[in-house]
């Protein structure tokens, strides 16, 4: 496992110029990186905390933390994994403070009308095919939201962020084997919900 993780680091040695500039305190580099990662970070946070208002708050905190900590970032490491780890740590702290049980992944929120799913559903209507696709995406988003936190995050990192298994292991600070077993369990649960139509609470 160590070798595979090391290969991920080595593969990223062509460090982004914007990251290097930001380490030197260049504000333009911060704007560049924010523009590049804004939607990915926001989506990841939204998948973790499910409430857009919380995700927005954590989004702000994440970039302020980036500005604070960028000098401690080791340029031989993977910036994506570092950034997502910062966001994840803030989200987990937030969930612990707010309601410790939410780390286990209950399906309910404080205002269910304003969740990630409702955002998908309330998007602008398009052609008929787009509506059908949106309906399917809506069902999938409902099923995804009903999964526990550990399942939601591994699925979003793999299929939405398209991270490699080794990168996910770095973000989650778990061995590669654990990531794989979690990925398998999460897919199985998601498929079961979609096939049986059971949208209720599922716990790992």
């Amino acid at each position: 496992m160590a070798a595979s993780i090391a290969s991920v680091w080595e593969g990223r040695l062509g460090i982004d110029a914007a990251v290097l500039q930001l380490r030197r305190g260049d504000p333009d580099a911060l704007a560049t990186l924010m523009a590049r990662y804004q939607h990915r970070i926001y989506r990841y946070l939204l998948r973790l905390v499910r409430q857009p208002a919380d995700a927005e708050d954590l989004f702000q905190q994440t970039w302020i933390r980036v500005a604070e900590k960028i000098r401690s970032f080791d340029t031989s490491r993977n910036f994506d994994a570092w950034l997502f780890t910062l966001a994840r740590n803030l989200a987990l702290d937030h969930l612990r403070r707010r309601r410790p049980s939410s780390l286990e992944g209950s399906s309910g929120g404080d205002s269910p009308e304003d969740t990630m799913v409702s955002r998908l559903r309330s998007a602008d209507p398009g052609p008929f095919e787009q509506l059908l696709a949106r309906e399917r995406a809506g069902r999938l988003a409902v099923a995804l939201e009903s999964l526990p936190l550990s399942c939601r995050e591994v699925l979003t990192l793999r299929f939405e962020e398209e991270m490699k298994i080794e990168e996910i292991a770095l973000v989650l600070a778990t061995p590669v084997a654990t990531v794989k077993s979690r990925l398998y369990r999460s897919l199985a649960q998601l498929r079961q919900i979609l096939e049986t139509g059971a949208g209720g609470e599922v716990r790992a």
Partner: protein
């Protein structure tokens, strides 16, 4: 391994296969098996529907106002850190300069006032004591000023 055992084992690996989470050799075995097993191919399609759907989920967009607000806050944070770093460098240089002046001051003082001190009958031990008292007093005053400035700065931050 019997054909049935292999079939069961491959079937268990299909989810990780579509997730691209298998090692190269395991992936090859699954691909070989799929070429000859209609049952596993059908099962694979079920997994592909799930993973394909996940990949195609619409990306929620961060609101533009949030981006602008966050950028302003992060820029301010960055500017504050830059200023703090600059202040630390200036403070370090000042401390080094103060020490250099203090250490160099003693022999210069003795050289410059040697004749006068001998007239006043001030011996070496007395000049040494004077020097220590003078230096300690200077550093005490400097340290107190630094503490007071730091407290004032903290107070200002609390107000902000």
């Amino acid at each position: 391994m019997s054909r049935l055992d292999e079939h069961a084992e491959i079937r268990e690996q299909l989810a990780l296969f579509v997730a691209g989470a298998l090692e190269a050799d395991a992936e090859s075995r699954v691909a070989l098996h799929l070429a000859t097993c209609a049952d596993c191919s059908a099962e694979l399609e079920g997994w592909q529907l799930v993973t394909g759907g996940l990949r195609r989920l619409p990306t929620p967009q961060a609101p533009a106002a949030l981006f602008e607000r966050t950028r302003a806050l992060a820029m301010a944070q960055l500017a504050e850190h830059r200023e703090q770093r600059r202040n630390r460098i200036v403070l370090t240089l000042l401390i080094l300069f103060s020490w250099a002046v203090t250490l160099a001051g003693w022999p210069i003082f003795r050289f410059a006032t040697g004749g006068l001190l001998s007239l006043l009958d001030v011996n070496f031990r007395q000049t040494w004591l004077l020097f220590v008292v003078f230096s300690a007093g200077t550093w005490l005053a400097g340290g107190s000023a630094a503490v007071l400035l730091s407290l004032g700065r903290q107070h200002e931050r609390r107000l902000v």
